[in-house]
Amino acid sequence: MKLHPLSGVWNAFGRGFAIGSLGFFAGMMGRSVVDGSVSLVFGLATAGFVLGVGYGLAYYVLFEYELTADTFDVTSGVLNRQHREIPFHRIQNIDVTQSFGKRLLGVAVLGVETAGGGSTEMTLDFVTEDEAARLQSAVRDRKRAGMADVDTAATEQADVAGDAQSPTPLFDLQPTELAILAIAFLRPGALFVVLFGLPFAADFVVSLLVSIAQPLGGPESIAALSPDSALVLALVSGPLVLVGAWIVSALVIVVEYFGFRLGRIGDDLVYQRGLIQRYSGTIPLGKIQSLTITEPVLARPLGYAGLAVETAGYAPGQSDGQGSESAIPLSSRSRVLELAREIEPFEELAFVRLPKRARRRYFARYLLAIGGVVAVGYLASRVVQGFTLWYFPTLALPLAPIAAHYKWKHRGYHAGEDHIVLRTGYWRRTTRIVPYYRLQTVFTSRTVFQRRLDLATLTADTASSTTLGGGDPTAYDIDADDADRLHTLLGERLQRALRSRSTE
């Protein structure tokens, strides 16, 4: 099968412009070095463009994909020919992405993920919407058919497959939920957009911040900056920049999650989302490594939470997906728990709190951090003329015990019948639910300070890539003896789970 004919034109021109502009810049540079004529620039640009278009067209002509009985095959490449076959049962996720332009054309990009590798294993750029949907459901069906061969419950599976084509709706994101989602989840990335992403608006932003900070002791202009007034300016603009980032992040979230919809087809979860760029994906229930329930500080009092599932598909550092897919961006906690239990039936959670000495440890850590900042500030005040506000960070001292308490309060773990559940985080509390049979390596580590306090940190690694919640499932600063017991328990439960699965 071939890609959509328009994709040949689209990619030919895309490559043409890319290589053509490369030629243009090469020509400009060459001209300044060897003093050549203008025709060199245009010559190289045109040659690059023709080369790019030719390559793009050749890529289209030579690109073939095919669904065989057991594999998804793609033959591609112009100079380096590549033939790749992915067995259906190894496919983790299939994603369909539509940018705004592609939506107008009614076409979509299809991506196939397996557990290995550093990037998306197969990309069809691009096919018609119908073809993408056909491939998505065809792969799903064949995967199921492949499993049914080994499964004794083949007839039952076939019944499910019969009416499988339209998903059973599980969750639709409501406007209120989208609004709370946008407000409660601050994207850290938005901060960078505000700080560095708007060079053309930077002058305006800086002058705005200076004029706001001036009555409070800030500088009269950036040129008249003194160390003390710079500190005031920083203290005033910090919250304002944060508010700016918040607004940007809220807009991004609305655009990203508008019209979120989750459904179920057989053994797969399917979802769609996006205002401008439509995105749809498949999460195979059988490949889920762990679940993450996220409750940001602003959503907690309202009783809202989000649910994400981690599969082994994506590589760490891959820009989208992050190996973690939202099953429910945000909904009431009970709804989230209900769906989470449908995916992984875990019991009522009763968390084991951290020992009190862990709280003392956090308190000491915050005191040391403040002390360090003050010390550096004091040294700076000796060297830098006019810098006298070095004691400013001590204002944070009363916050240290409060912060330590809340950090302590929101950490805990629950070793259940079939799952280990780990909770951490005040600003964004995450609860990781890891089935024992998904465990990989288990680490227990104790730093010098932890050994002094008889504490340990236990990490239960799974095959899922790095996640939204940040990092691996970890129980921080639990009692050292408990950690040893838990370490042994996890090993035993993994073996028990493997045994019971092989006898099934």
Partner: protein
């Protein structure tokens, strides 16, 4: 529990020696740059003897730390093949206990670096599909012990046929 081969201490001390040489060299370069008024820091004229003594001090400090570190590291390092997992204990500052279930082993490597080859030692590296610590290294093994361990781990991984993800 099994210890590493005692000669692994020499490997670590040699590695520490290399680190000390690098640190001494970096200190010398930075000192020369700073005292020649680089970065606008007001400097005296660079004296060769001052720079040499400073970098020697840095070299000795790193080495003095590295030697006991290597000795303690050796004392702490333990590993064991348990019923269904490879178990390791290690770490000087942060002590880490690791259990790698055999079902999760993807593949096993035997590696021999130049220093290890010189001292007649080898390392075994065990890979899993996990996201963190996807590889676990057992250094300082006699080559025959390393290949025996390698074979044993491979057998155990094959025995447990479950999909490793």
């Amino acid at each position: 529990m099994e210890s590493l081969h005692p000669r692994v201490r020499i490997v670590w001390i040699l590695t520490g020696l290399l680190g000390a040489v690098v640190v001494g060299f970096v200190v010398a370069v930075v000192d020369q740059l700073l005292s020649s008024g680089w970065l606008g820091v007001a400097g005296q004229s660079p004296t060769a003897s001052g720079t040499v003594s400073l970098s020697v001090v840095a070299f000795v400090v790193v080495l003095v730390c590295a030697v006991p570190y290597s000795l303690v590291h050796y004392r702490v390092w333990r590993f064991e093949i348990q019923d269904d997992a490879l178990y390791l204990e290690r770490g000087v500052i942060t002590r880490v206990k690791t259990a790698v279930p055999f079902v999760r082993v993807q593949h096993v490597d035997t590696q021999r670096g130049p220093v290890e080859r010189l001292l007649g030692l080898a390392s075994v590296v065990v890979y899993t599909a996990g996201s963190r610590g996807a590889d676990v290294t057992i250094p300082g093994l006699r080559p025959e012990r390393a290949s025996a361990l390698h074979d044993r781990l491979r057998e155990l991984a094959i025995e447990s046929e479950e999909d490793a993800v």
